[in-house]
C-alpha cells in the first residue's frame, strides 16, 4: 500500500509553512521528512500513481531498488538539512528547500520522461532561490548565471525527449540506447546537472554564494539526481568512464588554487561525483552498486562538510582561508564534526567513504581499466589533501587570525552531529548500506590489503602536504573556470551590441534616411534647400528607389 508519492509530501507540505509560527513551525518542518520516510518504508516495488495524459502514461512512482536507494538518502538528508536550518526565520527559504527536495524526489521516482522533465525544471527554479536569498549582489548575479545554465540544460533535455518520442513513440524512462541525436541531447541535459566539465562551472560558481543553510541542500540533490538518471538510462556507456575520471582529477586540481572555503568544497563535489559517473560508465553490477553507495555516503558527508564550513562562515562572517585561522580554540565541536566529514570523504577506514568509494575503484580494477584506476586513486589523494588537511589546517589552525567566534546554534550542531553519526555508523557497519543497494552486494571493504593500501596513500599524502605546506596557503585570488566563456562572453556580447552594431545602425539610418534622400531631393524638388525637404517627398522617393531595385531584380531573374 502506498499513500502519496514522496514528492507530493514535500511539495504540498511547503504550502503550510507560512501559516505556522514558532515551535509549531519547527516541529512541522521536522515532521515532514519523518512522514516521507515512513511513506518510503511502506512503498512496494512496481509502478504507482499512473495517470493517463493524452496518449501517454505519466508515472509518478516507479519503485525499485535503484530509485529507493536515492529516495532514502534524499529524505534522510532532508531531515538533517532542515534541522540545520531550523533557526532560519525566512519562510521563503524553507519553502524553496521543500520544493527543491520534493522535486528531486519526484525526478528520482519518475517513470516517464515528461514527469522527469517537469520535476527537473522545478528543481532548477526552486533551488535558485536558495542562492538568491543570500541577497548580496554576488549571489544575485551567480543565481542568474545558475538559472540560465540550467535552462540551457533543461532545453537540451527537452529537445532530446521530443526527438526520442518522435523516434520511438514512447515516453518511458529507462535504459536508453546510446548513439542517436536524441540520446546525445538527453545525455547533455543529464551531465550538465552532474557538473561534468566543461559543463561544471555553474556549480563552483553558484554554490559558494548560496545562503549558509541553502548551500547544504544544494550539495545533495542536483548532482545526485543526475547520477541517478545516468545510472537509469546510460549504464555502461564508455564515455562516462573517462568523463568521470577526468572530473575526479579536475576537481582536485582546482581545489589547490581555491581560497574560498565553500568553493574549495564545491570543487570536491565535482571530483566526488566523478567517481559516481565513472561507476555508471563501467556499468557492471559492482560499479552501479558502487555509484549508488557512493552517492548515498557522499550526500551525507558532503552536507556535513558544507555545514561545518557554513558554521564557520555564519559565526565569523569570513569565508576565505586567508582571513581565517586559529578558530579551533573557540569552535572545537565544529572542528570535530567537520573532521568526521573530512575523514569520510577521504575514505579513512571506519568512515563511510571507505566502504563506498572503494567499490567504484574496485570495479575499475575488476574491469581492468588501469588508467581510470590510476586517475581515481590519484584524485583520492587530492581529496584528503584539501578536504582533510588543507581546509581544516588553514581554517582552524595555522596562524591565529584573532577571531574568537562561538560555536553555532544548537540546531546546527545537532544537524551536523546527526550526519557525523551516520558517517561513522555506515563506515563501521556497512551492511546497513549494502543491503539496500540495487544489486546483491558481495563486496568486502575491510580486507588487509585494502586497509593497508588506503593508509599508505593517506599518510604519504599527508607527508606531501607537510613538505609543501608553505606553498599551500590560500592566496587572495580567484581562478578562472569555464564560466569565463559566458561571463566574459556576455560582456563582449553587450559591448558588441552597444558599439559596432549600434554604430552601424546609426550609420545606416543616417545614410538611408538623411544623406541619400536629401542629396537626391536636391535634384528633384528644392535645389539648394535640402533642410526644408518634405517628409512625404522623401518617403515617395524611397518607395520609388525600392520599387526600382525590385524591378531590376525581377527583370534580371
Amino acid at each position: 500500500m502506498i499513500n502519496l508519492p514522496p514528492a507530493a509530501i514535500f511539495i504540498l507540505g511547503a504550502f503550510l509553512i507560512p501559516f505556522l509560527k514558532g515551535r509549531a513551525k519547527q516541529a512541522y518542518l521536522l515532521l515532514i521528512p519523518v512522514i516521507a520516510f515512513t511513506d518510503l518504508i511502506y512503498m512496494q516495488e512496481g509502478m504507482h500513481f499512473v495517470y493517463k495524459f493524452l496518449d501517454y502514461n505519466l508515472i509518478f512512482a516507479r519503485v525499485d531498488k535503484l530509485s529507493m536507494v536515492f529516495g532514502y538518502v534524499f529524505v534522510i538528508m532532508a531531515f538533517a538539512g532542515i534541522l540545520y536550518a531550523l533557526h532560519v526565520k525566512n519562510d521563503g527559504e524553507h519553502m524553496a528547500s521543500f520544493f527543491y527536495i520534493g522535486s528531486s524526489l519526484g525526478a528520482v521516482f519518475a517513470g516517464d520522461l515528461f514527469t522527469l522533465f517537469i520535476f527537473w525544471e522545478i528543481m532548477a527554479f526552486s533551488s535558485v532561490f536558495l542562492i538568491w536569498y543570500q541577497k548580496e549582489k554576488a549571489a544575485l548575479d551567480a543565481g542568474f548565471r545558475y538559472i540560465l545554465v540550467h535552462i540551457f540544460g533543461g532545453l537540451c533535455l527537452l529537445g532530446g525527449i521530443i526527438l526520442h518520442l518522435a523516434n520511438t513513440g514512447s515516453i518511458e524512462f529507462g535504459l536508453t540506447e546510446y548513439g542517436s541525436l536524441a540520446s546525445y541531447l538527453i545525455l547533455i541535459g543529464f551531465i550538465l546537472n552532474a557538473a561534468v566539465p566543461p559543463l561544471s562551472a555553474w556549480l563552483s560558481d553558484a554554490y559558494p554564494e548560496a545562503t549558509v543553510t541553502g548551500a547544504v541542500f544544494l550539495t545533495a540533490y542536483t548532482t545526485k539526481t543526475a547520477v541517478y538518471v545516468l545510472a537509469r538510462a546510460f549504464p555502461g556507456v564508455e564515455i562516462l568512464v573517462w568523463l568521470g575520471a577526468v572530473m575526479a582529477v579536475y576537481g582536485v586540481i582546482y581545489a589547490v588554487l581555491e581560497n574560498d572555503i565553500r568553493r574549495l568544497l564545491a570543487y570536491h563535489i565535482i571530483s566526488q561525483v566523478g567517481y559516481m559517473v565513472a561507476g555508471v560508465g563501467i556499468g557492471t553490477t559492482l560499479a552501479i552498486n558502487g555509484s549508488s553507495a557512493h552517492a548515498f555516503c557522499h550526500i551525507l558527508y558532503k552536507a556535513l562538510l558544507f555545514m561545518g564550513a557554513g558554521a564557520v562562515i555564519y559565526m565569523t562572517g569570513k569565508r576565505k582561508l586567508t582571513e581565517l585561522g586559529g578558530v579551533y580554540k573557540t569552535m572545537p565541536i565544529t572542528l570535530i564534526l567537520y573532521m568526521v566529514g573530512g575523514f569520510s570523504i577521504s575514505a579513512v577506514p571506519l568512515f563511510s567513504g571507505f566502504v563506498s568509494k572503494s567499490m567504484v575503484v574496485a570495479a575499475s580494477a575488476e574491469s581492468h581499466l588501469s588508467l581510470a584506476w590510476l586517475m581515481l586513486v590519484l584524485a583520492s589523494s587530492g581529496t584528503f589533501l584539501h578536504t582533510g588537511l588543507k581546509l581544516p589546517y588553514f581554517t582552524f589552525f595555522a596562524k591565529d587570525s584573532g577571531i574568537r567566534a562561538k560555536e553555532p546554534p544548537l540546531n546546527m550542531l545537532l544537524g551536523m552531529g546527526f550526519l557525523a553519526f551516520l558517517c561513522i555508523f555506515i563506515g563501521v557497519y556497512p551492511a546497513v548500506l549494502y543491503n539496500i543497494l540495487p544489486y546483491p552486494a558481495e563486496f568486502v571493504p575491510y580486507t588487509g590489503q585494502h586497509i593497508s593500501e588506503t593508509l599508505q596513500i593517506l599518510l604519504f599524502t599527508a607527508l606531501g602536504f607537510f613538505l609543501l605546506l608553505r606553498h599551500l596557503a590560500g592566496t587572495p585570488t580567484i581562478s578562472l573556470d569555464t564560466d569565463w566563456f559566458y561571463r566574459k562572453g556576455a560582456k563582449a556580447f553587450v559591448w558588441f551590441i552597444n558599439n559596432p552594431i549600434a554604430n552601424f545602425s546609426k550609420l545606416t539610418e543616417k545614410i538611408f534616411f538623411d544623406k541619400i534622400p536629401s542629396s537626391l531631393a536636391r535634384f528633384v524638388r528644392y535645389p539648394g534647400e535640402v533642410e526644408r525637404r518634405s517628409p512625404v517627398g522623401t518617403a515617395v522617393l524611397l518607395a520609388t528607389i525600392f520599387l526600382l531595385i525590385y524591378f531590376i531584380i525581377f527583370i534580371r531573374r
Binding site: 589552525f397 588487509g448 599518510l459
Partner: protein
C-alpha cells in the same frame, strides 16, 4: 599535549614519521587477495603512488594556475 608548544609539535612529528614507516612495513606482511594490475603485488606501491599523486596535483595545479587561471579577485567586476 598542546599543539602550540614547540616540544609537543616535535613529538607529533616523530609520531607521524613512525606511522609512515609502520604503514609501509605492515604492507610487507599483508596477503594480496586481489591482483588486477602488476603493481598490486609491489610492496609499498601505494605509499609511493600516494606521495607522487599529492606532489603532482600541487605542482601541476600551481603551474596551470600561474600560467592561465589565477586572477585578481575583482577580475570579473
Amino acid at each position: 599535549m598542546n599543539i602550540e608548544n614547540p616540544d609537543d609539535i616535535k613529538k607529533l612529528r616523530k609520531l607521524f614519521y613512525a606511522s609512515l614507516i609502520l604503514a609501509v612495513a605492515i604492507d610487507f606482511l599483508v596477503r594480496r587477495e586481489h591482483v588486477a594490475f602488476f603493481w598490486d603485488k609491489l610492496h609499498g606501491f601505494s605509499a609511493v603512488y600516494g606521495f607522487i599523486s599529492c606532489i603532482l596535483i600541487i605542482v601541476v595545479s600551481k603551474v596551470i594556475g600561474h600560467k592561465w587561471l589565477v586572477k585578481e579577485e575583482d577580475y570579473y567586476d
